[in-house]
Assembly symmetry: C2
Homo-oligomer: 585 residues x 2
Amino acid sequence: MYRTHTCGQLKIEDVDKMVSLAGWVQRSRDLGGMTFIDLRDRYGITQLVFNMETDSALCEKARKLGREFVIRISGKVAERSNKNLKIPTGEIEIICNKFDILNASEVPPFTIEDETDGGDELRMKYRYLDLRRSVMKKNLELRHRMAQEVRNYLSKQNFLEIETPVLIKSTPEGARDFVVPSRMNPGQFYALPQSPQTFKQLLMVAGYDRYFQIVKCFRDEDLRADRQPEFTQIDCEMAFVEQDDILDTFEGLTKNMLSNIKGVEITEAFPRMSYSEALENYGNDKPDIRFEMTLHEISGLVKGKGFEVFDSAEYVGAICAESCSEYSRKQVDALTDFVKKPQIGAKGLVYVKCNPDGSYKSSVDKFFDQDALAGWASELGAKPGDLLLVLAGDKSRTLSALSELRLEMGRTLGLMDKTIFAPLWVVDFPLLEWDEDSRRFYAMHHPFTSPRPEDIELLDSDPGKVRANAYDLVINGVEIGGGSIRIHDKALQQKMFKTLGFAPEEAEAQFGFLMNAFRFGAPPHGGIAFGFDRLVSLFAGLDSIRDVIAFPKNNSGRDVMIDSPAKIEEELLKELRLRIEQAKA
Amino acid sequence: MYRTHTCGQLKIEDVDKMVSLAGWVQRSRDLGGMTFIDLRDRYGITQLVFNMETDSALCEKARKLGREFVIRISGKVAERSNKNLKIPTGEIEIICNKFDILNASEVPPFTIEDETDGGDELRMKYRYLDLRRSVMKKNLELRHRMAQEVRNYLSKQNFLEIETPVLIKSTPEGARDFVVPSRMNPGQFYALPQSPQTFKQLLMVAGYDRYFQIVKCFRDEDLRADRQPEFTQIDCEMAFVEQDDILDTFEGLTKNMLSNIKGVEITEAFPRMSYSEALENYGNDKPDIRFEMTLHEISGLVKGKGFEVFDSAEYVGAICAESCSEYSRKQVDALTDFVKKPQIGAKGLVYVKCNPDGSYKSSVDKFFDQDALAGWASELGAKPGDLLLVLAGDKSRTLSALSELRLEMGRTLGLMDKTIFAPLWVVDFPLLEWDEDSRRFYAMHHPFTSPRPEDIELLDSDPGKVRANAYDLVINGVEIGGGSIRIHDKALQQKMFKTLGFAPEEAEAQFGFLMNAFRFGAPPHGGIAFGFDRLVSLFAGLDSIRDVIAFPKNNSGRDVMIDSPAKIEEELLKELRLRIEQAKA
């Protein structure tokens, strides 16, 4: 054993003990006859003291230690004269009588501090150094504790963690699969799972009525800022349950996590909101309900007054920003610029200042008198001192732009406190989405989602109207989980594939095993999957998932540390019977 | 909720309660005016009663239920007149007053019983039905509990579970990798990890001094009976430790598992045996020490007596089978046939019967008199009534054949009791293995294993003699885990790559990131990995790992249930810029 204690362990009670520690040199200071070194390991930092007077040779040697050298020391615990009460070991120091260098270190390419001077790319390339920073350690420790908590909670609820295969079969539905050529079956491929969906359904058919798994999933997508080609899900499924049973179970899990990990106690039930309500009131299907500022349609109040922009709009809607009536011209212009950004896409912004004196000042005074504006204010419940922000246009785009504007105002007004957790169930999603390009319906969740029984007859007459037994868990505007009650009837599943435009042979070739399974007594079942990376990052108060993943990939799906993907040996390609096509010039 | 209780829950205390249950029809019996149905779910079986007298319509309907129909029932708990004390719910039955068919079932292709009539292939194709059998449920429940136990134990010991990437980089060393073509980087590939080896070492460099992970690993090998292309490891690594610290830690884990899962208490330390001792005494590096019957070399006693087979042999060795002197001609012939099988490869078998009267009878009486045979018997500690079995030939092949013969005798004599667990550490493995074909050394474990410090100088002069700081955990002759102290010094790692015949550029291209990491303060570290599938199968008393895996693949690496691997769409191949070469005619 290289040490008797860790660098986070020794306290004032340990004074006079002979100890040995091992770790990294965090920093070193020479003060006259003394050299002080902060020794760091996973558990903390302990101050070492070398005294020129009592052992000059050792002290000279200690002065040569550079940052990030790995050393092992022995010495006696002593009380510090100037205590550092910010760290748990700050009351003591070690008077060293011996040390060995276990490994030297070159000067690291960036500082190993909470606020490092290393840019993103450098930190990714030297991820093993980046991971030494205590903020990164806290993230990975949090991730570990959360995974343990999930497992212990679900195990106590009789869930079994069952591993499903990673080498499965490719299906063209949904996102693009990563594939794995099979050497033993040349010309054939495995695929990596986008989720264990069909396997967990088969486990329900097999009678394992409470399944979960914390599991890696894979999606070969063009990566957006906060996506990774491999990501981790808490994947769950239950049999003999209805939607409410699933919501209750996983609401229990979420409350338990918030309580045990974050110390946040939520006693009341999570609010439930329909998809259409979410769209109407928040402009999107994952509302951040930490603050109100809901959307209000005012089309009825504003049309026919000669203002062409409103008159020609499918939808006119507004939000009310509290206590913002004194916004300057510059502030309002900045908001206008914000909504006109291409990714938001509004044409312009109309404002109404509800002045403290009860009067109104708007950018459309020419068309609307004080009474008209008072009507808007009343519709939005605005008080004197508030500011109304109005957007108009095509309904779906305007809802989405208003949603972005609302979030922007939430950020500006400090309404998005990261220590507050506001969970919400969004329910009653549509079953299908129409795609204008391919002129067909797509499953909004996936083809195994059950329509609501009362809507099944609409599948033939008006498929777009069919609601699904599907639900999302949203916390602070982040979609944390989603799931549904599944189809467990062979005929209904076949009908669903038909509605999605699958030829019967196609459905059989791809999902025949599942429909076969439904022939032998499939129980009613449903489930949910949580994005574990996102959940951890939410709990860590981070905006990105990258820093809760030990070795993430960059936006091109590349691991710059190990330099992967990479070319492989010709020999291996030959064994796989593959040839790489050169790009066309 | 479809039920108030599970089928394993209701007891005599529940008599008179109104309950509802849901599950599968296990079997059904019509006895005069009554119909009895055994209803099965994950938790057990409960007997349902339908009474023709009190509700003939319901009873008629119940009589039509086939095996594996999924039903939900309501009724009253009643005490059974003929109790079945073999099952926990055997004292009660449910007098049903209502039921619904939740799903019908065709007649399953094999019986859902512990002793099923389904062959291996059929069971694999309908794995979801096979998994309904209670023996399979017990296996998966055991696996779940073992995984939980590992996680809880290691977490309490301050280990962090940290996920390492699945999409990594291919390295030609070791077994063949599965590769994953990258669409975003055409012509380049990821590889699936054979183990998280380099990543866990980087975590040590990053300061996470106690890491573990229960993790899927992948190996594209021609599959032997008990191998799977994807398998699960308990992967562990520690920093600032020496070999003994690692053995102690994971001995603790193993004892805890044996105690908490199997109720087997082992208080003394696990025996430790050197690799060379294991080879000499047991003929292989994973001795089953549930029984003695060790190998003894008798070359010195037998040579030069004119028996050509012994005289020309590099090695002559024997085992002593207790109380087998009365073996018949037929039994001895069967043993001779056994050792002559091609996979064992001995030329023949010499026996010596130590007769109860103190005399000896051997197959080589012509060459060896009673005194000579008494000398052999004494060397092996044989008593009157024992049987000596002698093999001769090339040393390594003969050791291995004797080892097989020893195990065969152990099986025959009932010395391999599955309820006994005999763990053993095998230590002091050689660092390198010479391969005659390629005329180079290979790493016996992997290229990151540290030589013993005192043997480092032999790396230049006599590499084959260098011992490694490597160890295996063997239980009942099964290699459960293996690991080593790793190299943490850049220069030594480079020397090791050179010894293994890597050109410097090659080593740099493949493992540059690791050697780079060693430049920045790598601590001494080491670890171990357990084969989780094998550990579970050992605990379950099974001979194969297949039945502790929910969805295993067959010996051609094929999942016959989902029919994978399979062809993929041309479109996807094109996006990956790959072409499949046709097989040569």
